[in-house]
Each structure stands twice: as structure tokens, then as C-alpha cells.
Amino acid sequence: MKTRKRGFLVTTLMALAMFSLVLSACGTKPEAANNNGAGSSNEAAAGNELEAIKKAGVIKVGMMGTYQPYNFLNDKKELDGFDVDIANELAKRIGVKAEFTAQEFSGLIPSLQKKKFDAVISQVTITPDREKVIDFTDPYITNNVNIIVNNKTNDITKLEDFKGKTIGVGLGTNDESYLRNEVLPKVGDFEIKTYDDVITSLKDLNSGRIDATINNLYALKPIVDKNGFQIKAVGEPIKSDQAGVAINKDTPELKAALNKALKEMKEDGTYKTIFKKWFGEEPKE
């Protein structure tokens, strides 16, 4: 009887501890809410973001981790790829280490805004819409986007051919908003199917579940090489995108430091080496 009583006491105490934990978390609310209430998304110490990163010795970087050859797991089960090399090089140049978190693309920018990451380096295309909510460094890569179809498909070569078809695209990507906001009104009805990673969309394209997708050729190559997917790029590039390192707004010091590092990388040839390593050709710029 005695032990049972104690058990209940412990349970109650632990439950109370948990509730107080939740309550204490709520206790920080007014302070932070004030900043939000001021109508800006910056936090009080936003200017110190670079300092905070340096102090921690770590820059937290978010990426998809499923986008060859930009960011993916290598044979040693470590994140690897163009974006990873760029991130590591940037981190080195500001004197810290990069710590990576792999997360679905659609969650990367929300997580950045919520300060779960210091930066997102995952082929985030610089767009005016995104620039309203986050900040970008100078672009670090330009990607041509093509229409990609199954080898058997011959009736799609341009955007106008999308009418009545099912088109796959990454959820929350720049390509998705491009399809929805620009192509859809122009071309007329077609169905958009969204995916959380590139591989799934290409797999579905290969097996005929979708009629076409749009993506860049660098991303396509390793997948086709490795997997023998019966898919091909058609027509001229429909657009060309520039990706930058995504960071939070009102972090001018961080932005300046990253831009400086990028510039130095390009000047001393490190950038070119990384680019050639992953894409087998010289950067065009």
C-alpha cells in the first residue's frame, strides 16, 4: 500500500513538473511577443546573429539531404554534395563549423524563420516573394530549369503542352510557385502534383504517374545515371534560377560575412574546384 501511494505521488509530481515546464516556457512569451507586436520579425539581438554563431562555434545549416548532387548522403552516410561543400567552405571562412539538419524542403524556410537554423543552403532560389520574408546572400549558383518527361512521351516539348496533363513539382519550391502563378494562368488547366523530394517525382515520372516535371539538369543527371530512369529533358530551358544562401532578415553582419566569404571563394579558385567536382564542368559565370 505504501509503495503504491508513493508511486502516485511521484506521478503527480512529475506531471506537475511537466506542467510547470510548459508554463515557464509560456512565461517567456510576453517579452518575445513585444518584439513581434512592434510589427517587425527581427528579434532584439538580431544584429548579433553573426556574433552568436561565432560564439557557438557552429553555424546551423538546413538542407533537404535528398537532392543529388547538391545535398545527399554519401557512402559514409554523411551529408555530401555541392551545397555541403559550399556550406563547409563558408563556415570555415567565418571561423566556425557547419552543422547540418536534413529536412523536407517545404519546412526549411519556416524553420529558418523560426530560428531553428542560421542558414538554409539547399538550392533556395532567390525570388521577390521569398525576399519579403527572408534574406539572401549573393547567388552562389545559376541553374537552368528544363521540362522533363518520360522517354515515351512525345507530345510535351514546351510549357503550352502541359494543358490537361499532370505535372509533378517539389512542394514549396520556387518551381511550384512558378507553375502555379505563371504557367497555370497562361497555359490553362493542368494538374499539379507536389512532392517532398526530387527522387519521388522522377520515380513517378518514370512509372507514368505524372506526365512531366520541371527541374534542372544537374539534379537530373546523377539520378538517371544511377538508376537508368527512362526520362529525358526536352526543349529549351524554360527559365534560369539563381540560388543563394537563405538567412533571416535583419542580419546584416551575417550577410556581409557570408558574401565576403563567397567572393573570396570565387576569387581564389575554391569555388571553381567545388563546382567542377560536382558538375564536371566549369561554372558559366
Partner: protein
């Protein structure tokens, strides 16, 4: 295919560790929440009862995925920020707590009224009656449905992959993207989830037998 599955066992086990971790932590907190809420619904005064009932209704009436997003992204709008692992545990604890509270409530109600009356007759207070007479019996009744909830939760942990926790599902997604193959890894994590749920069932079965012996 078997070779591919075999050489990736260690990588997936890392994911299984987080899956198990989240499951166990959420189970423990879920149990506490469930017990407190069940008692609150049965013995609390009007506002407490209403609060408890709203909690259960809201949690059971909304998708876990929404709850996870609310805790990870939503609360952050108000300056309440959790790491992804903490957010995952918190969301699933709150979720399981709601389901378990119903299990406990049912179990408490299933203890015959005569037990309460007899306890009162021996001079026990309502609190004592609850702790010493009703709850020990109710726990026994609650174990089989509790097992259901736990095993269900074990699988629901796969949903927290969306907030970047490298649990089993997330690890498999990374492998799928690396090797560009699906079936080997889906099969593999399927087996891992299955083994873990068998483990939970076995533990609960033992607990059930132990409790049966005590009376």
C-alpha cells in the same frame, strides 16, 4: 537487395533509437497527463471538467500532424520555441495523453461502485479511495487498450520526420534518395517498426500478468 538492406542496418538503427526515444518519453508523459485528465474529468469541479473535456475533444479531433506543426512552428510565433526533438516529444505526449485519459476514465468507471462504497464504509477519504482502491484496479483494466495506444504511437512517430527529427522514417527517406531505391528500405523499416511493436506488446503482457498475480 538483401545486401543493401544489411549494410544499412546501422544507419537505420540510429533512426530507430530516436523512434524509440520519442515513443518512450511520450508514453511516460502521456501516462501522467492521461491519469491527471481522467481524474479531473471524473472528480474535478465544473471548470476543471470542462477544461479536461475540451482538451480531449480538441486533441482527438485534430490530426497529429497539425499538432506537431502547431507546437514546432505555431507556438514559435509567440516566442515559445522548442528544438525539433522536444517538440516531437511534447506533441506526442499531449496527443497520447488525450487518448489515454479516455482509456483511464473508462477503466475507472468500470470498477464496481460497491468498491467505493466499501472503502467509504471503512472510513477512507475520497482521495484515499481513488489512490488505494479504484486506481489499482482500473490500471489492470486499462492495460490492453493502453497497449493499443502505445503501439499506435510508436508508428505515429514517423510523422515527426516533417520537423527534421532523424527518426526511422526520415533515415529511410535519406537512404532512398541516396540509392534511389524504395522497396529495400521500406521493407527494412517496416520490419524494425514491427519488431519494436512486438517488444512493447511483450512488455505490456508481462505487466498485465504481474498485476493479475498481485490480487
Amino acid at each position: 537487395m538483401l545486401e543493401l538492406m544489411w549494410e544499412n542496418v546501422p544507419f537505420l538503427l540510429k533512426g530507430a533509437y530516436y523512434t524509440l526515444y520519442i515513443t518512450i518519453v511520450s508514453m511516460l508523459f502521456g501516462l501522467m497527463i492521461g491519469l491527471v485528465v481522467a481524474v479531473a474529468r471524473l472528480k474535478g469541479n465544473r471548470p476543471v471538467r470542462w477544461l479536461a473535456r475540451s482538451y480531449v475533444s480538441i486533441i482527438r479531433g485534430t490530426p497529429v500532424l497539425v499538432q506537431i506543426a502547431v507546437i514546432y512552428y505555431g507556438l514559435d510565433d509567440y516566442g515559445i520555441s522548442f528544438g525539433s526533438l522536444t517538440a516531437a516529444c511534447l506533441a506526442l505526449s499531449i496527443n497520447t495523453g488525450a487518448y489515454l485519459s479516455e482509456t483511464f476514465r473508462g477503466a475507472i468507471l468500470a470498477v464496481p461502485k460497491g468498491q467505493t462504497e466499501a472503502a467509504y464504509a471503512t472510513g477512507m477519504s475520497p482521495g484515499q479511495t481513488m489512490r488505494r482502491i479504484i486506481l489499482p484496479q482500473a490500471v489492470r483494466i486499462a492495460i490492453p487498450p493502453m497497449g493499443n495506444t502505445f503501439v499506435g504511437m510508436l508508428k505515429e512517430t514517423s510523422l515527426v520526420s516533417v520537423i527534421g527529427v532523424s527518426e526511422l522514417m526520415r533515415q529511410a527517406q535519406l537512404l532512398q534518395a541516396q540509392y534511389l531505391r524504395y522497396m529495400p528500405f521500406l521493407l527494412e523499416i517496416g520490419i524494425m517498426y514491427w519488431i519494436m511493436s512486438i517488444g512493447f506488446s511483450a512488455i505490456l503482457e508481462r505487466v498485465e500478468k504481474r498485476l493479475a498475480r498481485a490480487y
